[in-house]
């Protein structure tokens, strides 16, 4: 035995007295009563069931309690053939050990061990199919005959040309990989952030490109459970008597495992598990792929940032992070990597768009025809394919799954599909229809009686980012009243309120953002003025917004009225734009305008904080807050602030400072980005006075002391909580880490 992962624990039963066996068993688990039986039994037969043939085997006595206890706790009759029992348990134990080899990938593992593992790996599918299948082709045939495989797995793209991803994006990723693996500057490991909705072929693209560029991928996968790990560790502990204290798990945290992985993957080659593959594949480099970002990083992204910073300094190969934009109201990528961090880490980011409908149809048709060629299913009609493609919202995976479902014999005749066909026929009779994901919904708003047919097999619930939703409302479009039949003109005396019908329903759009109506309104309010050209329009829109706020003011009825507030605000805004009443009206002088985040919450927060601070600092004065802040504090500023303590002085100066330039254009506006992560804030009218945080005050007075002379900047000098990156110490720590792995 050159090396063994298992504790070497030899039991020489014949040499030892029986009591000792009893003792060891006693130490094990909870089967104390059973042990006593064993002891009694073993006095009689102990020697007989351990045959000398086991002698030189590394015996690990931690018999799985379920099996062993069953064996022991049976009646005497079972003990009449005990010879077979322990043997069996030992064998099962061995097989579990063998399968645990996967956990064991320390570099020192012997060649014999890895060979053994290979043999086993090859045997696994054989077991599954219950007959030994040799050639790859045969096996696939068997599998497809069972037809339980998903087509989305089966028809994974194999070549660059097969990819449904846009050509340019593929080129981008290709050139990135090529450049970054070829040219490499020290202390600046390239990191790529690949984002996009799920099922758009991010990973597939990477895998294919890697094989075409002959790059090796080292992929991080989250450890399944800590339990398996700790079990294994417990076994490493040589001392059997400590077996009882298994509960002391010595597992690492996810984040430290992740950082260890990065360092290791950086330093070492992957183990060549597949001998045949390694001989052919002389890889020209490698990159690390991280797709499952450990959950703990979502809670505190700073940790991830630190690890990546570290990696950037000492990494040797490119790192690709794949993040799906799955979440409903905020983008994961934005949450994990806010823009400033992206700049800081010099993350390059490529965003994969949803697959275009035409491309999707092409892919689906190809698969359908391949399947049909094999004669198992009838190829679905072009319309069905089209409708599946459109309802998928650019998710190839779900579209293929939907196709597979639609092609099954027992589902083709589903009612829904037929109605869709009918509808699509009607729709396609219209002039030159372009494929567009939104088109189904558009049709609905025009002729609202056909809305119930919307459900398509495997249809995805489309979501909409706040940015897009806001854009859709602000750049609203009107349709031709002649096309949608039911539109009636208003009587003459109301003609100034007459508008052409909208091409969309605002409520639907807001619903898709998954934000509360009030919250959406604040964003609309922040941005609407830019889009109106006359004061009269602004006046009307402002009043509608004021109405909307009033509607949801009552705490008791807020839940029910929330939806109406959105209607009032959005439709009010759209209606009050008198320059676009007809579908033929075009926007004059409206280029693209930046959208901004709502200032209200920040303002609210700041005023609450200063109010709390004021009440705290000037407690001795016992004024009501309003008087304090509108009269006392401003006059203290004017009279003699130096007579108060420094905290008070700095506060007074801060609160009484207004921007001097009378025409300052909106200070401190935060731009709303395409995928900005927005958190729906809770009711802000619950004023958290209880949270008069002393930390705020302390840091405030400290921070204020620094820039007492700085008069212009009043709002932004919050305590500098931004982490300063100190390069030197981290680097030292880094070296230390690598040392550790060397031995």
């Amino acid at each position: 035995m050159t090396f063994s992962p298992f504790p070497v624990f030899r039991i020489d039963l014949q040499a030892k007295p029986h009591e000792e066996i009893g003792l060891t068993m006693d130490d094990s688990d909870d089967d104390v009563s059973i042990v006593k039986v064993t002891q009694a039994k073993s006095q009689r037969k102990g020697a007989s069931w351990v045959t000398p043939s086991f002698d030189d085997f590394d015996f690990e006595p931690s018999l799985p309690s379920s099996k062993s206890s069953k064996g022991f706790s049976q009646s005497h009759s079972q003990y009449s053939q005990p010879k077979s029992q322990p043997k069996k348990t030992l064998q099962t134990k061995l097989s579990t050990f063998a399968s645990r080899d996967d956990f064991f990938n320390a570099p020192s593992s012997s060649a014999s061990l890895s060979r053994k593992r290979q043999r086993e790996q090859q045997q696994v599918p054989a077991h599954k199919l219950t007959s030994v299948v040799k050639s790859e082709a045969q096996r696939r045939k068997l599998k497809t005959a069972l037809s339980t495989d998903l087509w989305s797995d089966q028809y994974q793209p194999k070549k660059k040309e097969d990819l449904a991803v846009h050509k340019k994006k593929v080129e981008d990723i290709w050139s990135w990989l090529k450049e970054r693996t070829a040219r490499f500057t020290k202390h600046a490991a390239p990191i790529l952030l690949l984002t996009g909705p799920p099922g758009t072929g991010k990973t597939a693209t990477l895998k294919i490109l890697a094989s075409e560029l002959r790059l090796e991928i080292q992929e991080w996968s989250n450890p399944a459970t800590a339990a398996g790990d700790s079990d294994f560790k417990a076994m490493e502990q040589a001392d059997w008597s400590e077996r009882s204290s298994v509960d002391v798990y010595s597992s690492q945290s996810q984040s430290s495992q992740f950082s260890n992985f990065l360092l290791r993957a950086n330093k070492y080659q992957a183990l060549q598990l597949d001998l045949t593959a390694s001989s052919t594949n002389s890889s020209q480099g490698k990159f690390i792929l991280v797709e499952d970002i450990p959950n703990s990083f979502y809670r505190n992204p700073e940790e991830l940032h630190n690890i990546l910073k570290k990696y950037r300094r000492c990494g040797h190969c490119p790192l690709v992070l794949v993040v799906s934009d799955t979440s409903t109201n905020s983008s994961n990528a934005q949450r994990l990597f806010p823009p400033d961090v992206q700049v800081d880490l010099r993350l390059e980011s490529i965003n994969v768009n949803p697959v275009a409908p035409t491309m999707m149809v092409k892919v689906l048709n190809k698969i359908a025809s391949q399947e049909a060629a094999q004669g198992r299913f009838a190829a679905p009609s072009a319309r069905v394919v089209e409708s599946i493609a459109m309802s998928s919202a650019g998710d190839v995976r779900s579209a293929i799954n939907a196709l597979q479902f639609a092609c099954r014999q027992d589902t083709v005749d589903l009612n829904q599909l037929r109605t869709i066909q009918k509808r699509l026929k009607k729709e396609s009779s219209g002039s030159g229809r372009r494929l567009k994901y939104g088109s189904l919904a558009k049709q609905d708003s025009g002729a609202s009686n056909s809305t119930q047919h919307e459900v398509v097999i495997g249809a995805k619930d489309t979501t909409c980012f706040l940015f897009h939703a806001l854009g859709k409302i602000l750049y609203f479009k009107r349709g031709d009243p002649a096309e949608s039949g039911g539109h009636q003109k208003l009587p003459a005396h109301l003609s100034r309120h007459d508008r052409d019908p909208l091409l969309f329903t605002p409520e639907e759009i807001v619903e898709k953002t998954h934000l509360s109506g009030e919250y959406f309104n604040t964003f609309l309010h922040q941005n609407y003025v830019d889009f109106l050209s006359s004061v009269e329009d602004v006046e009307r829109a402002a009043e509608y917004l004021s109405d909307a706020d009033l509607l949801s003011a009552q705490y008791t009825s807020r839940g029910q009225l929330q939806d109406y507030t959105v209607s009032v605000a959005t439709r009010g805004f759209i209606h009050s734009d008198s320059s676009i009443c007809r579908h033929t009206d075009s926007r004059k002088g409206h280029g693209w305008r930046p959208l901004h985040k709502s200032q209200w919450f920040a303002t609210q927060k700041q005023s609450q904080q200063s109010k709390a601070a004021a009440m705290r600092l000037f407690r001795g004065y016992h004024w009501v807050p309003e008087t304090l802040l509108t009269e006392i504090v401003p006059y203290i500023n004017l009279t003699n602030p130096t007579l108060h303590d420094p905290g008070q002085i700095s506060f007074v100066q801060n609160v009484c400072q207004f921007s001097r330039s009378s025409y300052a254009l909106r200070p401190g506006l935060e731009k709303l980005d395409e995928k900005s992560a927005v958190d729906d804030e809770d009711d802000t009218d619950e004023i958290p006075t209880a949270s008069m945080n002393p930390a705020f005050n302390a840091s405030q007075s400290l921070a204020r002391k620094d820039n007492a002379g700085d008069n212009d900047d009043n709002n932004d000098d919050l305590p500098s909580s931004q982490t300063q990156i100190k390069t030197a110490p981290v680097e030292e720590e880094e070296e230390f880490f690598i040392e550790e792995f060397d031995d």
Partner: protein, 355 residues
Amino acid sequence: MSLWVDKYRPTTLAKLDYHKDQAAHLKKLVQGGDFPHLLVYGPSGAGKKTRVMCTLRELYGSGVEKLRIEHNNFTTPSNKKLEIVSISSNYHIEVNPSDVGIQDRVVIQELIKNVAQVNQLDSSTQKDFKVVVLTEVDRLSRDAQHALRRTMEKYMSTCRLILVCNSTSKVIPAIRSRCLGVRVAAPSADEIVQMLQTVCKKEGLNLPSELARRIADKSQGNLRRALLMCEACKVQQYPFSADQDVSEPDWEVFLRDTASMIVQEQSPRRLLEVRGRLYELLSHCIPADVIMKGLLQELLQNCDGELKTEVVQSAAHFEHRLQSGQKAIYHIEAFVARFMAIYKRFLEEGIADLF
């Protein structure tokens, strides 16, 4: 060093400088033995709290001046922790329930219960009730006001309430009818001048009567403000000159600039600039209704007579919404937009008439 406002605050009813007959009434009320709940109302800076404190002193003697600041903790039914600061002596407790926002009902009920459940220690020499002073009653939520009504009756034997507010219009009638209303009117300009002179004499300063008059005019009947202004003037320039500037708080200047911006130009772009300034005011803790009032005052000065009714009406409309709505900015902005529209129309009509 404390401000003049605090330094020269009268402490007994006899020392009050104006509304002397009212002071006499209060004195008689206290001497009469029984003492009803009081609702003290009047404009800001008229001396409501001064009067309340004087009354308390009349009731309990100098013991009420030994004040201590306490942090009271309450838990709402939904298990939210509330903390409120109260100022109390052995005989009374003063609290501003609107500090805790919409949870004020809990505070009112719990606090009054706590106070009322303990009898006065030595009732032979003292009055047999304690006093709870609630400030800013007009900012209490409806819930809290209704809770107050019940609590008032229940603990009448051991506890009296003195409610202080600016206006009774926001106090529910049920409470108004349970209290003896005491209106503290703002001092007249002459009284303010007199007060300023007295204070300056005590400080050893010589205040020209013209300056005192100007300060009094500018203070708009707010004695506190007049004293603060006077003190600011002293810091600015001493010895006083009759024609020196009376300084105003920065936010008022800022608000006035904002109003003039609105009058200068009526366009969506200008509205955005105004909004930025409104946000700045709000973030400096200037209450929304104060902003509204200030804006209206400034805007009205620029209005023609016939416009005034319309502007005031729309201001009242949006001020009402401001009170019942949640996000003040919507309503202030809607008012500004409305004013812009009205004013623009007026200007255009004026030009049309010209030709």
